[in-house]
């Protein structure tokens, strides 16, 4: 029995440690800010009665900001906590510790109206366009549903008009509105999902592996679409991906996550020119290019990701790190700025 149960005290006691940021370094408006954000889950039962055997530290202290028009790509492998972090951003889970601030306010303590506003402002597009759209609903109802729920003053005709507009924006035609999801290919379904996410003019869209379930020849179309829409509406994207090449194309900031913490957090340009953390380097080298010239050196890591219930002491990556040192088991490295716009949590850079 591995019952996953949200652990208690959702952020309640954790006071906001730092004053919220209002503008980022680049002068853009800060929408979301995570301060030492943690999300733990109780798992399993020790012995007979249900005391949790341990806690999965899915997200274990991350700091970042999301500003208007910005795209953060969060990369890491399964179990690193990227999905949980996405869920916290969608307010599907509340933080265990630390805080997530929405325009300066803790998302835990939002009033009912503010919560509604938050839900409208932060939308999502998920990985699998087959399971994420209800097959019994027509496209116009799928795309219009958020409007019907949130914009009660809108008439049916107004909703349909808006849906038609959205269809056009994502490259579908008005005639498609009367159809059901199964009549569409994967790429078109993902467009429908994007249209649905756009319907309430969100400020942030969480993109959870938005193209990895699509055919290779379709991915570029959808990625281009996402970029166009961002340029048009100045939305912030928070993209979860394990594909670094996709992250490179779409993002301006990259966060590499390992066992609940950021190993590296940097501007994309800097990161891909020179990834610093040994884990990032391995991850980058595992993204296999189709070119034969100037291929990066392949780094094959030993072993597997340890359990997030009992992460290694000190640096969590040390058990697989090719450049491990004595200090790594003793002190947990903090994320430090080693160059402007480039932060890394590794003892190699001191």
């Amino acid at each position: 029995m591995t019952a996953m149960k949200s652990s208690s005290t959702p952020g309640g006691g954790a006071a906001v440690a730092m004053p919220p940021q209002t503008t980022s370094m680049s002068g853009r408006k800060v929408l979301l800010e995570a301060q030492n954000l943690k999300k733990h889950f109780a798992v399993g039962r020790a012995g007979f009665l249900g005391k949790p055997a341990g806690h999965v530290r899915a997200v274990d202290g991350v700091d970042f900001t999301i500003s208007a028009g910005q795209t953060i790509a969060l990369a890491g492998e399964s179990g690193c906590g990227k999905t949980t972090l996405g869920n916290v951003l969608l307010r599907l889970e509340l933080p265990t510790e630390g805080a997530l601030l929405w325009e300066g306010k803790d998302i835990v303590t939002l009033t009912k109206e503010e919560r509604q506003g938050y839900r409208r402002s932060v939308q999502a597009v998920f990985q699998d366009p087959w399971s994420s759209l209800d097959g019994r609903m027509k496209v116009q109802d799928l795309v219009g549903e958020p409007l019907v729920i949130n914009e009660k003053q809108m008439s049916r005709a107004q909703v349909l008009e808006r849906v038609a507009e959205l269809m056009d924006q994502v490259g579908l035609q008005e005639v498609h509105m009367e159809r059901f999801p199964h009549e569409f290919s994967g790429g078109q379904r993902q467009r429908i999902a994007v249209a649905r996410a756009l319907s309430l003019n969100p400020k942030v869209i969480i993109l959870d592996e938005p193209v990895s379930a699509l055919d290779v020849s379709i991915r570029a179309q959808v990625m281009n679409l996402l970029k166009e829409l961002q340029e048009k509406y100045n939305m912030a994207y928070f993209m979860i991906s394990h594909n670094l090449a996709t992250a490179r194309f779409i993002s301006d900031t990259v966060a590499i996550m390992y066992l609940g913490r950021f190993a590296e957090y940097a501007e994309s340009e800097l990161f891909f020119k020179k990834p610093l953390h040994p884990y990032s380097q391995a991850l980058v080298s595992a993204s296999l290019p189709v070119e034969f010239e100037n291929r990066r050196q392949r780094i094959v890591l030993q072993g597997e990701v340890p359990s997030p219930i009992n992460p290694p002491s000190g640096c969590r990556f040390r058990t697989r790190c090719p450049q491990v040192m004595d200090i790594c088991s003793e002190i947990q490295p903090e994320l430090m700025e080693v160059a402007r716009g480039h932060r890394v949590a590794c003892h190699l850079y001191k």
């Binding site: 492998e77 281009n224 340009e269 595992a286 993204s287 296999l288 290019p289 070119e291 094959v300």
Partner: protein, 322 residues
């Protein structure tokens, strides 16, 4: 090609699927050769027929599938002429497979070690110690503490470890030929890197010939010697990987390679391919790619012949026909 080194020669293979909406020509006249010791990558999107091609070779098609024509010459014998009984002696012993999803490909109610030993017991009747051999194989595929791992059930292992168990089953009877059907697509990037390394080692050790089926062009560029690009049931281009990837001749290959994002640069837009692959029930009569092709012209109404761009590089496009 009557190369002595050719271990597998597939000629005009045709596999049909009977579906509610009619017959789907999943594999529609596919021909290729694989030389001993090399790795052929069959690359394509879902529905391109790449997996069906592989399963036709070993005759493990779904219930609705049937090979309706062609030849599969393996070591001089046509596998398609063999009875189901005879094929059982080929599978696992001479041609083995590694499947895509390591969790669902292992039987949940048997110990992983036993699932390896079972193959050895079945094919090598006089093997002295199948259990010991299984433990040895688990060590070889770098499963830590193999004697303990032998007793694990599949659900007690990680995805990477399970995929190694499949690898161990694959080489357990020292086959000459291994078909790997997207073995890494369920794995994380760093675990995929480990697995590809392992596969290369096993290939050296057992002098394996490998068909690697994938949708990932990067994997093909990294581990394959030759490549066959499939689109809508046909091979549109085949040849040495470097030739095909550096000088793609078919517009589909060319457009696809261009559309892939790269780690090295960040273009404003990706050159994308318009439209989508044809539905299996609505195949274009001529070139399958013509509706999406930027170079389309009147000749494309008819299916183009396989044309040699170089002695080893073949493309099915009218633009290559001189």
């Amino acid at each position: 090609m009557n190369d002595k080194d050719v271990i597998l020669s597939v000629r005009n293979l045709q596999t049909h699927l009977r579906t509610r909406r009619g017959v789907v020509k999943a594999v529609d006249g596919v021909s290729f050769d694989v030389r001993r010791g090399e790795t052929l990558g069959i690359v394509g999107e879902s529905g391109s027929g790449k997996s069906m091609t592989a399963f036709s070779i070993v005759q493990l098609l779904p219930r609705v599938g049937r090979v309706v024509g062609g030849e599969v010459i393996f070591n001089g014998e046509d596998l398609l002429k063999k009875s189901p009984r005879e094929m059982e002696k080929v599978r696992g012993k001479h041609v083995s497979m590694v499947l895509q999803d390591p969790l669902t490909s292992l039987n949940p109610v048997f110990r992983t070690g036993d699932q390896i030993a079972e193959t050895i017991r079945h094919h090598l009747k006089d093997a002295p110690d199948p259990k010991g051999k299984a433990v040895e194989l688990m060590r070889q595929v770098r499963i830590p503490a193999p004697a303990t791992a032998y007793r694990y059930y599949p659900h007690q292992m990680s995805g990477g470890m399970r995929q190694r168990v499949l690898g161990a089953i694959g080489v357990s009877c020292e086959p000459e030929f291994l078909i790997a059907d997207e073995p890494t697509s369920a794995l994380d990037p760093t675990i995929q890197a480990q697995y590809l390394d392992l596969l290369k080692d096993l290939q050296k050790q057992y002098n394996l010939t490998i068909i690697f089926i994938t949708h990932d062009f990067g994997i093909v560029a990294t581990i394959c010697d030759t490549v066959a690009v499939m689109y809508a049931g046909k091979i549109v281009e085949t040849g040495p990987v470097r030739d095909v990837f550096q000088r793609p001749s078919h517009p589909y290959t060319e457009a696809l390679l261009k559309s892939l994002p790269s780690l090295e640069e960040k273009p404003k837009r990706l050159p994308s391919i318009s439209g989508q692959p044809p539905m299996p029930h609505e195949m274009p009569t001529g070139c399958r790619f013509a509706p999406r092709c930027p170079y389309k012209f009147d000749k494309c109404e008819e299916y183009p012949p396989d044309t040699h761009v170089s002695p080893t590089h073949i493309s099915a496009c009218w633009r290559s026909v001189k």
